[in-house]
Symmetry: C2
């Protein structure tokens, strides 16, 4: 059952936060580090887990790797991502993640636009 694989991806708090943030749009690994406040290995491994199961896709842009939700998620995935968004409302952890994402956002507008990066500058939102 594909459903089970989806739930396996959802049954870890870190992955839940990653997917919740990704619902806002593509994000690179170092931003995930800043937003979640978790070490790079942890972020990277959970993203690999999600990618291996088709819940996210990735694309390299220079040094950075941008992750995004699939363009055409399956019906099951779509339903569960929507459910997650719904359940996340009111949860302080998820809200804090979004707040941090907003703070960082301006420094990576090019990610959203899909343009190649211009300045080598810092990726971490600071």
């Amino acid at each position: 059952m594909e459903l089970v694989k989806i739930y396996e991806c959802l049954c870890d708090p870190t992955r839940l936060r990653l997917l919740h943030v990704l619902a806002q749009g593509p994000v690179c690994v170092c931003h995930f580090q800043a937003v979640l406040g978790e070490p790079q290995v942890k972020i990277s491994k959970h993203l690999a887990y999600l990618r291996a199961r088709g819940l996210v896709g990735s694309e390299r842009q220079g040094n950075w790797v941008i992750y995004a939700l699939p363009a055409k998620p399956s019906r099951e995935l779509q339903a569960n991502l929507a459910c997650l968004q719904d359940c996340a409302r009111g949860n302080p952890v998820f809200k804090r993640d979004l707040a941090r994402l907003k703070q960082i956002e301006p420094s990576c507008a090019w990610v959203r636009a899909g343009e190649p990066q211009k300045a080598p500058g810092q990726c971490r939102g600071g």
Copy 2:
């Protein structure tokens, strides 16, 4: 996060089927055996897993133990159970379970009514 516990319960095919069937109403263990076609140990252990995490409740009636979804599920649980019902539509495994449940149903109307069992008779739907 309570959400994670819910997803941990959902990431096994047997438990998914149990919960899906339970959405139709209370069911006793031996009916689960008949409906899912799985051995008693397996059913019983997965039900214990769900009960320990508050996803189901149980009540003894003579020799039988009847399981049911909680009367007042949390918002998260409610949302995810609804999502599961939605995703289950069109899935042959889930459909087959419901079909078997319908066949058995007449033999355990007393379960639904909450009455104590009358005849000792066979519990397995046959």
